[in-house]
C-alpha cells in the first residue's frame, strides 16, 4: 500500500543560499541557511507567507535550528557557523501575532574544545542539548542559563575531555528521559538524563550517523546517515529492531529523519535530493519524491494543528523539505481531502 503526497506549495528562494535546517512549530516553520538571517514562514495559510525575518542572527550563516518536538513552540535554538548558539522566544503579545525575539545567547567556546554542532530542545522547552565536533554533549538549563551536564564519549582525560568522534546529530526524547547522539564513527549513544550516564551504545551503521530521532512515544530511536539505511532501535532494551532501506547498491547519504505524530511513519531526506516516507511497521518505503535541484539537508513533518487551517489546506498530514535549491517545499498527504 503506497501513500500519495502532493506538493502543496513551494516557497521559491526562501533564502539566498542553501537551506541547512528547518524547525516547525504548530503554526510556523523556521529555516536556517548559509545567509545570516533566519526566516519564519507561516504554515497555517495556504501560501505559506513569510511571517518574520530574524536579521543578522548568525553572521556566517546557520547550520542548525531546532524547536522542541512535541513542545509548545515558544522557544527555538539556532547555531551559527561561527559557533554561537542563539535562543529565541515567542513574545506573548495579542496585537503582534507570533513575534519572535532573541532571548539569550551562548557565545562560541573559547577553549580548545571542538565547535558546537547539532542542537535539540526538550519537550518542556527548558533544556537544550548541544553536541560538539570532539564528541561531547552539553546540556543547558535554559532558564537558569547554565550548563548542567556534559556527557563525554571520547577517550580524552577527565580534565579536558573531548577526543571523541564528531557528534553530528542529537535528539531528546519527549518524556525527557533520554538523550541520543549520532557520531561520525557510526556509533549511536543513548544517555539516561536522570542518572546522567550512558545507557546504550548502539552499533550497526558503521558509517557516519547524520540524524537521530526518538519516536513520539519514546519507545524507538531511528538513526541514519552515510549508510543510507535507517536503523530502528528499541529503547526498552537497547536492541536493534529493524532496518529500513531501499534496494540500491549504493544508497545516497541520508541527512535528515523525522517521525510523524503517530509514530507510524518516518520521513527521510538525502543528498541525492530524494525525500521518502517509510511505513515503520511494515519496513517499506511508501512514497518517494525527487527534488529537482540537488541535495536535501532537512526534512520535517509539520505538527498537527488544533487551529482550523485556512480553507483549501485540507486535513492531510504535511511535511517540508529543504536544501540546496534554497526553497521550502511543502507536501500534503493526498488522502483525507
Amino acid at each position: 500500500m503506497s501513500k500519495q503526497y502532493l506538493t502543496t506549495h513551494t516557497v521559491d528562494q526562501a533564502h539566498a543560499t542553501e537551506i541547512y535546517s528547518v524547525a516547525p512549530t504548530r503554526s510556523a516553520i523556521f529555516s536556517a541557511s548559509g545567509s545570516s538571517a533566519l526566516q519564519i514562514h507561516s504554515t497555517i495559510k495556504p501560501t505559506f507567507p513569510l511571517q518574520q525575518t530574524l536579521p543578522n542572527a548568525h553572521r556566517l550563516g546557520c547550520h542548525h535550528v531546532c524547536t522542541a518536538r512535541g513542545g509548545l513552540g515558544n522557544v527555538a535554538a539556532s547555531v551559527g557557523f561561527g559557533g554561537e548558539i542563539k535562543l529565541w522566544t515567542r513574545k506573548e503579545d495579542k496585537d503582534v501575532n507570533n513575534q519572535w525575539e532573541l532571548w539569550w545567547e551562548i557565545p562560541p567556546v573559547k577553549s580548545n574544545g571542538g565547535d558546537v554542532w547539532a542542537v535539540a530542545l526538550s519537550a518542556d522547552e527548558a533544556y537544550l542539548a548541544c553536541t560538539t565536533s570532539d564528541g561531547r554533549i552539553h546540556v543547558w538549563d535554559l532558564v537558569g542559563r547554565e550548563r548542567i551536564q556534559t556527557y563525554e564519549t571520547g577517550g580524552g582525560n577527565s580534565n579536558t575531555g573531548g577526543g571523541g568522534s564528531f557528534a553530528m546529530a542529537v535528539d531528546l526524547s519527549r518524556d525527557g528521559k533520554f538523550t541520543a547522539t549520532g557520531h561520525e564513527s557510526g556509533a549511536v549513544y543513548v544517555f539516561n538524563n536522570d542518572a546522567g550516564r550512558l545507557v546504550y551504545s548502539l552499533s550497526g551503521l558503521a558509517k557516519p550517523v547524520r540524524a537521530v530521532a526518538f519516536s513520539p512515544g519514546c519507545k524507538r530511536l531511528a538513526a541514519t546517515g552515510n549508510a543510507g539505511v535507517i536503523a530502528i532501535y528499541d529503547m526498552e532494551h537497547g536492541e536493534h529492531v529493524s532496518n529500513l532501506s531501499a534496494s540500491s547498491d549504493r544508497p545516497a547519504w541520508i541527512t535528515s529523519v523525522d517521525w510523524n505524530d503517530t509514530g507510524e511513519y518516518l520521513l527521510s531526506g538525502s543528498l541525492d535530493g530524494k525525500v521518502k516516507v517509510w511505513d515503520v511497521a511494515r519496513g517499506v518505503c511508501v512514497a518517494t519524491h525527487s527534488e529537482t535541484e540537488g541535495a536535501l539537508w532537512a526534512v520535517r513533518w509539520l505538527p498537527k494543528n488544533e487551529q482550523a487551517l485556512a480553507p483549501g489546506m485540507g486535513k492531510g498530514e504535511m511535511f517540508c523539505a529543504a536544501g540546496a535549491n534554497k526553497s521550502l517545499t511543502f507536501y500534503r498527504e493526498a488522502t483525507g481531502m
Binding site: 553572521r59 550563516g61 570532539d134 557516519p208 545516497a252 512514497a287 519524491h289
Partner: protein, 480 residues
C-alpha cells in the same frame, strides 16, 4: 658593528655613496626599456613582459636608511626609522581576522630595545635562539637586528645597482651566523618592503624558485637565453622570476592550469597532458602547495599580457584548497602590500562538492514519484551496464566518468580535522570581512559550508578512483 661586516660588502657600500651618476644612469636605461617593451607587440604569439620597476624610489630610500644607520652608529645617537611590520601589532589570535588595521605603522625607535619592539619587526625572538634573559635587559637583540637589517639593505642595494636578483635563501647563506634562521630573513625582507611601500621584487630580492611549469611555450630571458617549457618531459622546469623574462611565446596555448599538488602536476606533466588535452594545448603550473610570490607574479604578468588565455585553478576540496585559490585570486593578508601578484580572472576548475561521491552520484530516475521501496533498482542495472564499457574509455569519457563516480569513492574522502574546521571558519571570516560578496565568493562560502556540514574533504585525485584525472580534466576544460 662594522667589524662584523665583511670587507667586500663594506667596499660596495662605500662605492654606492660615491658619485651618484652610475646608479641613476642605470635605472634610467631600465625605465626606457620597460616603457618601450610594454607597448611592443611581437608577432607569433610572442608577448613582451613589462618590467614593473620602482627602483627609482627604492634606491634613495635604502640609501637614506643606510646613511642614517651609519650616522647613528658614528654619533652614538638613537635611531628613529618609520618601520612597519607585515604582522599585526598584537598577537594575531587576540584580534578578529577581519581587523587588518592592526598593522604596525607608527614611527618606532630603531632598533627596538625590548622583545615587544622586536616583535613589531615580525621577529619572533624564539627564532634567534637567544637566552630570554639576555634579550629582556641588554642590547644584543637590537644590535643584532641592526646588523641583520643593514646586511639586507646592503645586499638589496647591491642587487638593485647591478640589476641582478638575489634570493632570500642566498641572503641567509651570506651570513648564516648572523641571521640564524631563514625565517628571520623572510620576515625582515617583507617588513622592509612593507616599510618602503614597495614589493619584495622591487628590492631585487626574490624567493628561491619554487613553482614548476610545463607546456608548449617559450620564455626569452633578459640575459638572452631561451627556455622551452615543453622540453623537459616529465618534471616541468623551475619557474623563473618574472623580472628575468623578456618575452613569452605562447604558441597556440589556450589555457593555463594552476595545480595545488605537485604530485598531480608531475603525473600530468609526465603524460604530456599540456600538449595532449582535448581542450587544446595548454600550460600547467604548480607552486607546490601554498603559492609563493614568484609564481603569483608570473601568473599576474601572464594574465596582464595575455588576457585571452584562460587561467584555471585545481585545488583540493578542503579549506586550505580554497585559501590557496583565494590567495592566487585576491592576494594574502600578510603580503597585502605586494603589488602585481593577484590573478582576479582565475577560475575555479575544481574540485568542488559536485565532483566527488556524495553529490555527484545523483541518479535521475524517471518519475518524480515512485511508490515502492525499489526506487533505483532500474538505475543500478543501467549503471552496471555502463560499467562494462570499461575498455572504451576514450570513446565515452563522460559516461565513463559517471560510472566511476557511481562506484564507492569513500576511500578518497576523509574527515575534516579540528584544524580544518577552524581554518574553514577563518576563511569564511576573511571572505565576509573582505566585503564585496559576489557570485564567486558565495560559491566559495557554499563549498566551505558543505565541507563543514558533512565534515568531509577530498583530494584532487578523488575525482577518479584510479587517480587518473585526465578525463575529468578534459570534460571540465572543454566545458569551461
Amino acid at each position: 658593528m662594522s667589524q662584523s661586516t665583511p670587507n667586500h660588502a663594506q667596499n660596495s657600500f662605500v662605492s654606492s655613496f660615491a658619485p651618484d651618476a652610475t646608479p641613476r644612469k642605470l635605472h634610467l636605461a631600465r625605465q626606457t626599456s620597460s616603457q618601450s617593451s610594454a607597448t611592443l607587440i611581437l608577432p607569433n604569439n610572442r608577448v613582451a613582459i613589462p618590467l614593473h620597476n620602482s627602483c627609482d624610489d627604492v634606491i634613495p630610500k635604502i640609501e637614506d636608511i643606510m646613511e642614517s644607520i651609519i650616522d647613528a652608529v658614528n654619533d652614538g645617537v638613537e635611531l628613529v626609522i618609520p618601520f612597519r611590520s607585515t604582522r599585526p601589532a598584537q598577537a594575531i589570535r587576540s584580534t578578529a581576522p577581519s581587523e587588518r588595521e592592526g598593522r604596525q605603522s607608527d614611527c618606532i625607535k630603531f632598533p627596538g630595545r625590548t622583545i615587544q619592539e622586536a616583535k613589531k619587526f615580525g621577529i619572533n625572538p624564539t627564532h634567534l635562539h637567544l637566552q630570554h634573559s639576555t634579550m629582556a635587559h641588554d642590547s644584543p637583540l637590537w644590535i643584532y637586528l641592526l646588523e641583520a637589517l643593514f646586511r639586507i639593505l646592503e645586499l638589496s642595494h647591491e642587487a638593485l645597482l647591478s640589476g641582478n636578483l638575489i634570493t632570500k635563501r642566498n641572503i641567509y647563506y651570506q651570513n648564516i651566523v648572523l641571521f640564524k634562521s631563514q625565517s628571520v630573513v623572510d620576515e625582515l625582507v617583507d617588513s622592509l618592503a612593507f616599510t618602503l611601500g614597495v614589493g619584495r621584487g622591487d628590492l631585487n630580492i626574490v624567493a628561491s624558485a619554487k613553482g614548476l611549469i610545463t607546456g608548449s611555450i617559450e620564455l626569452s630571458m633578459r640575459d638572452g637565453s631561451t627556455v622551452h617549457c615543453g622540453l623537459s618531459r616529465d618534471s616541468g622546469i623551475l619557474l623563473p622570476s618574472i623580472n628575468s623574462i623578456d618575452t613569452i611565446d605562447f604558441g597556440c596555448t589556450k589555457w593555463l592550469l594552476v595545480i595545488e599538488k605537485e604530485a598531480t602536476f608531475r603525473t600530468l606533466a609526465a603524460s604530456q597532458y599540456a600538449a595532449n588535452s582535448r581542450a587544446g594545448q595548454g600550460i600547467l603550473v604548480t607552486a607546490k602547495g601554498f603559492p609563493d610570490l614568484a609564481t603569483r607574479r608570473f601568473l599576474h604578468a601572464v594574465q596582464a599580457v595575455r588576457p585571452q588565455l584562460l587561467i584555471f585553478a585545481l585545488v583540493d576540496f578542503d579549506p586550505h584548497g580554497i585559501a590557496i585559490l583565494r590567495t592566487y585570486k585576491n592576494g594574502s593578508c600578510r603580503l597585502e602590500h605586494e603589488e602585481h601578484v593577484t590573478v582576479p580572472a582565475m577560475r575555479w576548475l575544481g574540485i568542488r562538492s559536485r565532483d566527488i561521491g556524495p553529490f555527484s552520484c545523483r541518479r535521475d530516475d524517471q518519475g518524480s514519484q515512485s511508490t515502492s521501496g525499489q526506487c533505483s533498482q532500474d538505475l543500478s542495472s543501467q549503471e552496471s551496464a555502463t560499467y562494462s564499457y570499461g575498455g572504451s574509455q576514450s570513446e565515452r569519457p563522460s559516461k565513463r566518468l559517471r560510472t566511476y563516480k557511481a562506484r564507492d569513492l569513500s576511500e578518497s574522502i576523509t574527515s575534516l580535522t579540528q584544524g580544518d574546521r577552524k581554518k574553514a571558519v577563518q576563511v569564511m571570516n576573511e571572505i565576509s570581512a573582505a566585503g564585496n560578496i559576489g557570485a564567486v565568493e558565495r560559491e566559495q562560502m557554499k563549498e566551505l559550508k558543505r565541507m563543514l556540514m558533512l565534515n568531509i574533504k577530498a583530494e584532487i585525485q578523488a575525482v577518479d578512483n584510479y587517480g587518473d584525472i585526465t578525463n575529468w580534466l578534459n570534460e571540465k576544460l572543454c566545458s569551461a
